[in-house]
Symmetry: C2
């Protein structure tokens, strides 16, 4: 399979980036600077993320016109600052700055070593619901060596809508079977497989922490099932 | 200006890549392997490139439906193999391989040093008439550290059509004045300035060799006028 897979696309939030740990750390640091006490920043991270699927759903259904994920993040931030009873502590400018936490997520520790091994033989890039600038900033800060960035605002659509997968395949000028989708989420891979793409599942059972209710294991016979990007590199170089 | 320019976009053919020298070198190497003699490969490179503007013009005018630059390159290759009387020496598969010369162009020697200096403080990417895969392959081979890749097939339009510049600005989510267009071609910068972008001219008087008939100097008071990407880094970090 190694020779026939020419491009490998990666889901980002959860698959590449540890959003929960990153947001919790940045929140705790910010709280220390601002002398805010008593907030469970892991819960805050999970609450922020909980606005993700519903926020996109309103766009995907057509209930709302296209809006970038950064704007969805910001609306949800305003909500949860109220919920956590710290809204009075953050000005509009501070909220805008805090929204950029999502541009500074840390990758899981296996990502860079794995991507550095995959890059010489494959085109690699994210295929993410993040915005182009979010993904570019994240990669720049963390040293993620993407060859290109495929973002939701490129296609004005969110996964798992078909436009995203089909748009990526068309832009690459490749056959669907030459492109592999890598994700920690079975539904993302099911959509990709539905369009003829190859699939790799990376198990990330700690992504959501105590909120995790799915994706503890592969739900189908994906082409590769592993628990890290280094494991993906091992599997691709063996085949 | 350094602080207000958030993203720097680069024309690629001529500005970043020495297409003439690269194609001539690859052609000469191929000729040696195939024992083809008597071809002026610098002239071959210039003849190949001479199909670029007319090929895009037919797409830009609507005379032909959208086609990627790789396909324009391939049509022109078939023509010039005839012109240079070496068509019989190349099979269809060999022509397809030869067309990938454009994916393996070398950057001018100042590009990597300059881009490495610009990257920490700016988002950097090509804004090129090349295809996404062409630009990604070129960068991967040469080690060009783009943060993202903006290609003509992303917008299904060729510079200097407005869709390309406006599409890039929208994808970045920035104001036009926060985005700088860098090119060795005055017409590219004139279009960019027309949309409110900042402009940097890099003088490349040897781009076309003996065919060069324009772009020996800046034709307007571009925001920066220099002769290298390192010069661009100097100018931006001074302002």
């Amino acid at each position: 399979m190694a020779t026939s897979v020419k491009a490998i696309l990666f889901d980002t939030f959860g698959t590449i980036a540890d959003w929960r740990g990153s947001i919790a750390r940045m929140g705790a640091q910010l709280a220390q600077r601002k002398r805010i006490e008593g907030v469970d920043w892991d819960a805050f991270a999970r609450a922020w993320r909980a606005g993700y699927v519903p926020g996109m759903a309103r766009v995907r259904s057509g209930e709302r016109p296209w809006m970038a994920l950064d704007d969805i993040h910001r609306e949800r931030l305003d909500e949860i600052l109220e919920e956590f009873e710290i809204a009075d502590s953050f000005s509009d400018a501070e909220r805008a700055e805090m929204n950029l936490f999502w541009h500074r997520l840390d990758p899981w520790p296996d990502c860079l070593p794995g991507l550095i091994r995959l890059k010489p033989d494959h085109l690699i890039g994210p295929l993410s619901n993040g915005s182009l600038v979010l993904l570019s900033n994240m990669a720049k800060r963390a040293g993620i060596p993407w060859d290109f960035v495929f973002s939701s605002n490129l296609f004005k659509a969110y996964k798992p809508d078909p436009e995203v997968y089909l748009g990526a395949i068309t832009l690459l000028g490749l056959k669907p079977g030459e492109v592999m989708m890598t994700a920690a989420h079975n539904d993302d891979l099911a959509a990709a497989r539905g369009h003829g793409m190859r699939t790799a599942y990376i198990n990330r059972p700690y992504e959501y922490g105590i909120d995790q209710s799915a994706d503890f294991e592969a739900s189908e016979d994906w082409d590769i099932v592993t628990d890290s990007v280094t494991g993906l590199a091992d599997a691709l170089h063996k085949k």
